[in-house]
Amino acid sequence: MHEATVCTEGCFIKCKNFFCEHGQRLSELLHLCSDVIEKIGKGDTSQKIDIKVERYSLQRLIDSINKLSKDIEELINLNHELAIGICEHFDVLRRLQEGDFSAKASEDSSIEIVKMLGQLINRQRERFLDYIDKIKEQHSEMVKIYEQERVILSSIGVAILITEEDMTVEFVNEEFERLTGYTKKEIEGKMRWSDFIPEDILPQAIEYHKLRRISPSLAPSQYEIKIKDKHGRIKDALMTVAMIPYTKKSIKSIIDITERKKIQEQLLHSQKIESLGMLSGRIAHEYKNILTGVLGFAAILDAKIQDENLKKYVQKIVEAGQRARDLSNTLLTFSRKEDISTVTKINLNKFLVNYSEFLRSIIGRDIELKLNLPESEVLYEIDPAHLEVIVLNLVTNSRDAMPEGGEVVITLNEIHLNSDYQNTHPLVKPGNYLVLSISDTGTGMDEETKKRVFEPFFTTKPKGKGTGLGLTTVYGLVKGYNGHIHLYSELGQGTTFKIYFPQKNKINMELINKEILKGNETVLLVDDDAQVRQYIGSFLRDYGYTVYEAENGEQALKIFEEYKEKIDLCLIDFIMPVITGLEVKKRINSINPKTKILIMSGNPITLKDTTIIEKSISPEEILFKIRNILDQKE
């Protein structure tokens, strides 16, 4: 240590003595201090001055520098922790923003704001994850709904398709596959809606498609359309269209109405023919009345005129009048104004075999006539003259359709038509039918001819060759037997007419044991026709019944009053003079409500709460019915 001395050189600040020991030592110390301050300034806070000096001012400087180093170190540490925290949180936020939700901020910083920033980031992350979970749940729910809707749309019995704005088909269901013949794979994303539309209606379909996207209310939501399937077949369809909300897509539901349209056409055609029948029948009827006068007065004139030359003219009038009357009669047949009264049960097999000889002579050698008849005999109640007209007309038409020769086949068979058949042929009632079909290998008919073939005076034959009444007459006759006539024809292939004659619900009596038809009950038989009474009474007695006969209602009521305890069943004619069958029934029931009553009718009729039997059916069938009623099976 130096002793305190007074400097003569002006003390160490102004000292000019270069060799002053004090001055040199002070200078060294100050240089050290400067070096340390510089290093601290660069961030190196490891620098310390570890020197103790006696002079207070210098020691204070050294202490201040050491304290500055410590303070700056603390500041640097704080600054660095802050920077590291920011860097870390910056990175976590970046990863979260990129969708990496595994990123998590640390919350262990000693700097409160950095720690809180970490907590905030993590809470925000949790909140995001909650939202994401909820969105995932909603998405999963939407996927379920979507799948459910797709299943519903797929399995629904209506053809469905969803189209994009550019007509690309996005979705079709199974019914649409069935309708068009294409598979889902072939359609979805590959085909356009326009691929299913026939060319003639394509512009309209495109217009509706565009219009619906501009102004939905202006495009019809339901309309009839035609659909072209894989094989080029055109189908009639009813289509309902709607836009799918928030999209430019539309959903179309399509119902195939091809069959329905056919049935409608059948009905319309049938109604048209019926109207024509009514009109021609009415006109024919009026003409017939007029012709009665013309022919009657012509006959009177013929009787009164002596001049043979004039008689010839009258004869001409009579002949022309008769031709006109014949024509009227034909028209009346078509309109079924003529009674079918001479029906007899005939063996159709025999009839057709016999009649075919005559037919062969008409059709000529170039045409072969074949009969296709069942082995078992077919009996049917029909006027043979009508059957001849039907077969002759159809075979003649076949002949005219085969100028170069060919083949005509007459087929006879019995079939049962069920309710399924009625779905496609609404005018045909389900039941047993006798089918007489006549097919040829002729020229066939076009669609227009097929539609008009039964119309009166419609003919494709040259003028003077055909009256246009042949098929009209056939139609009228068939309808007269409650039958139906169906036409199948292809141009160049040939034609088949199928006639369906309804068969009554007859029971095959040959198979029934006659013993079960017998009875010992008492029957009151009421009919004003003595022959019918005698006929029915005789077979009732033959089968063991006791029979009381009455020729009118009054007599019947008297007998019933007298023998009401004995009479088990009353068999009453529907139409009788003075007291009708129904009135007799009513009065008998008022005497004894439990008495069983069976009404007999010449025509097939149905009445509420009344059991009716047709007189034309066989004795066995009548006995069977009586037995059933007495045994309370009906």
Partner: protein, 73 residues
Amino acid sequence: MADRLLDYSGLKCPYPILKLSVQYPQFKEGEIVEVIGDCPTFEKDIKAWCQKLGKTIINLEKHGLKIKVTIRI
């Protein structure tokens, strides 16, 4: 051979790691990055940064005041 060289010489800490954090999103995973700094606290900062962000220091060289750190991103 590094894919990328970042020279932060002359920059005082914590500027080097702040700049590195901003540039880092451009790096691809697995890239090798060399970072040079001459700040006295650079080594401490870069080590802390790598530890917080889960990066690996594969080499550290000192040339006087300069430090070169090689990092696998």
